[in-house]
């Protein structure tokens, strides 16, 4: 599949050099674009394909009442700058007041902008999310954003391919989720395990997953260091796309499905690397450290640095540092770790299905008095759909805050942040030092694990609840 898409998009190639690839979709947000638009202006260059470029604001936006002015002046300037740039260069923008606003990786699929067989880029590393549709989706830096705006192309070295075969069937589908699968994959191959490669997730356990779950998996490919992650499109994919605003319609759709069906990787294709997982006995996963590879089963304990490093001195030092930062002692049971905050949101786990699953855990239960918990839907559309189902009530009655859509506490660029020392069960994708607020301590988990931790005030094995 990767090879086919790659070959289909080559504009120019030369030996021992990156290839020039055509970009089908360019998604833009407020944080990584202002300097790119500035560059265009300075050189008098227009945007080549305004029809293939779409923008939204997500990283900075407050998740409180949208009718009030933004308190943070600098955020406000960045948001206004994007609006002005879109106007000046003629780009479609889903702004803060739009019913389609949301995290760029949530709205792309929602609006049918994300399609199989295409190349998609965005100035954000979690662009890998869109690979769940069988697209080659790449995160790029700001200079590349400028390059794509000006030329609709990108220079890229051909990555190697890495098959991640995921077999078996999970014992408890509600309690053991796509998030646990991907955390387990990163735990196994490491945060640099995918460097220079495109991961293709395959196997029975992947075909069974919904599109939303597939997005969770591809989303975190970057946490394994990969250039992108992909899943071959199938009936689940086509059903999801059908009828979305920017997707092909009617006869065009039928033809597209035929073409997309041909993208599957031939059974005898050789991958540069491959690994096989069996998820039949997989337990819910929890990170204990400060990178997404520092993961254990919920039934396990915080490892000893020696045990974690397996003889690698640099990894041992990193583990020591992580323990110090996380204020954890080796041997502590994961279920003994107390949480102060719970965050359900981010482009990893803020889609409707994530909220539905978490709400099942919360029905008839209350958040522990010592815990502050919030839900931040991935988009305005997710929020509206959830409210239709009455999920806002379930969350509110349980004691969760129900907020407006955006990145929020995934990276804390808006006012939603951890206080120093606070410990958070988070459904996001990065547990780096200070990511959710300076001195904040993050444990990455699935939405159901986060919800259960909110209720108990510490981690619990959510399998016991289903």
């Amino acid at each position: 599949m990767f090879e086919k898409i790659w070959d289909n998009h080559i504009v120019y190639e030369e030996e021992d050099s990156p290839s020039l690839l055509y970009v089908d979709r360019h998604l833009v947000h407020e944080v990584t674009s202002p300097q790119a638009f500035d560059g265009l202006r300075m050189n008098g260059r227009p945007v080549r394909r305004t029809d293939l470029t779409f923008a939204t604001m997500d990283h900075n936006v407050p998740t409180s009442d949208r009718s009030l002015p933004i308190v943070d002046q600098i955020s406000s300037i960045q948001i206004q700058t994007l609006a002005q740039n879109c106007k000046e260069f003629g780009i479609t923008l889903f702004d803060m007041q739009s019913p389609d606003q949301g995290i760029v990786h949530v709205i792309g699929p929602e609006l049918g902008l994300t399609l199989p067989g295409t190349t998609i880029v965005c100035g954000d590393s979690h662009t890998s999310t869109h690979g769940a549709f069988g697209a080659l989706a790449l995160g790029i830096g700001t200079s590349e954003v400028e390059h794509v705006l000006a030329t609709q192309t990108i220079w890229m070295d051909k990555p190697k391919t890495f098959a991640i075969n995921i077999e078996g069937s999970r014992k408890n589908n509600h309690a053991v989720t796509a998030k646990d699968i991907i955390l387990y994959v990163i735990r196994t191959i490491g945060t640099a395990g995918g460097t220079g490669t495109v991961l293709e997730y395959r196997g029975a356990a992947v075909s069974d997953l919904s599109m939303e779950n597939r997005m969770t998996i591809c989303n975190m490919s970057i946490e394994a260091g990969a250039r992108a992650g992909m899943i071959a499109p199938d009936k689940t994919t086509f059903d999801f796309i059908k009828g979305r605003r920017y997707a092909p319609k009617d006869e065009q759709f039928e033809k597209a499905v035929e073409y997309w069906s041909g993208l599957r990787t031939d059974p005898n294709t050789k991958f540069d690397k491959f690994i096989t997982f069996d998820v039949s006995t997989l337990a819910p996963q929890v990170t204990w450290g400060t990178n997404p590879g520092m993961v254990v089963d919920v039934t396990g304990a915080v490892p000893h640095p020696d045990e974690f490093a397996k003889g690698n001195e640099n990894e041992r030092k990193a583990a020591l540092r992580a323990l110090e930062y996380m204020m954890l002692v080796p041997g502590t049971q994961i279920t003994d770790i107390k949480v102060d905050r719970v965050f359900i949101g981010s482009c990893t786990n803020s889609r409707l299905e994530d909220l539905v699953e978490a709400s099942i855990v919360l029905k008839g239960r209350r958040v522990a008095p010592s815990v502050r918990a919030m839900v931040v839907p991935g988009s305005q559309q997710v929020k509206a759909a959830a409210e239709q189902l009455g999920l806002d009530k379930v969350f509110r009655e349980a004691g969760f805050e129900w907020r407006e859509s955006g990145c929020s506490m995934c990276l804390g660029m808006n006012p939603d942040i951890l206080e120093p020392g606070e410990c958070c069960a988070s459904t996001s994708n990065r547990n780096f030092e200070g990511r959710q607020g300076s001195g904040g301590r993050t444990h990455l988990v699935s939405p159901v694990m986060a919800a259960a931790a909110a209720v108990e005030g510490h981690f619990v094995d959510v399998r016991e609840w289903f």
């Binding site: 200079s143 390059h147 030092k317």
Partner: protein, 196 residues
């Protein structure tokens, strides 16, 4: 962009693996809309304590390393987000090259766009430099060599990126010379490629 041809300097050793872009430039500084003056935010949370006072134990605060233009790092340097602010901060602070056994992909790319050479050396070569941190290092991009003490160490870089750095070229300008190719591609684009 300023060309990169050769560089002579000692190195500032940053002895940590998996240094991510959230550490290189913490997110509270991503809100600016210009690309200059990020140097003061480089490794901000490691460099300064909560009251803004320099932390004595961090390398960038050690006068011994002041003014060095090469950063010496460990595996998987620049992992995490795609933020180019990380590269802007490194170059604005005064570094022109980073030497490490491996880099995260997006960060590696971003370096070339900003006149920084990311040089991948073998782990034992990197260890050698860490163990001899006051050695004068000479980097020759044309020859793809890092020379220090009695060692000559070779690094790989592809011809395209090498040329951009050596000549200080703007890659958009280079690509726009291929305008014919791009227009031709647009004519033969797949019918199922998305339109507006």
């Amino acid at each position: 962009m300023e060309p990169f041809i050769t560089l002579r300097s000692k190195a500032t050793p940053l002895d940590r693996v998996n240094v991510d872009t959230d550490q290189i430039v913490p997110k509270q500084f991503l809100k600016l809309v210009s690309r200059t003056s990020f140097g003061k935010f480089l490794f901000y949370d490691w460099r300064f304590d909560r009251d803004g006072a320099p932390r004595k134990d961090f390398v960038l605060n050690n006068l011994r390393y002041a003014g060095r233009q090469i950063m010496l790092a460990r595996d998987n340097f620049g992992s995490g987000s795609s933020r180019e602010h990380a590269a802007w901060a490194i170059v604005d602070y005064g570094f022109r090259a980073v030497i490490a056994p491996s880099f995260a992909d997006i960060f590696y790319n971003n370096c070339f766009k900003n006149g920084i050479l990311p040089a991948r050396l073998k782990p034992d070569e990197v260890d050698y430099l860490f163990n001899n941190e006051d050695l004068e290092i000479e980097i020759d991009l044309a020859e793809q060599l890092v020379v220090a003490g009695n060692r000559k160490m070779h690094f790989e870089v592809d011809q395209f990126r090498k040329k951009l750095l050596l000549e200080g070229l703007d890659s958009i300008g280079v690509t726009l010379q291929l305008e014919d190719r791009i227009s031709n591609y647009e004519k033969r684009r797949q019918m199922f490629a998305p339109s507006g």
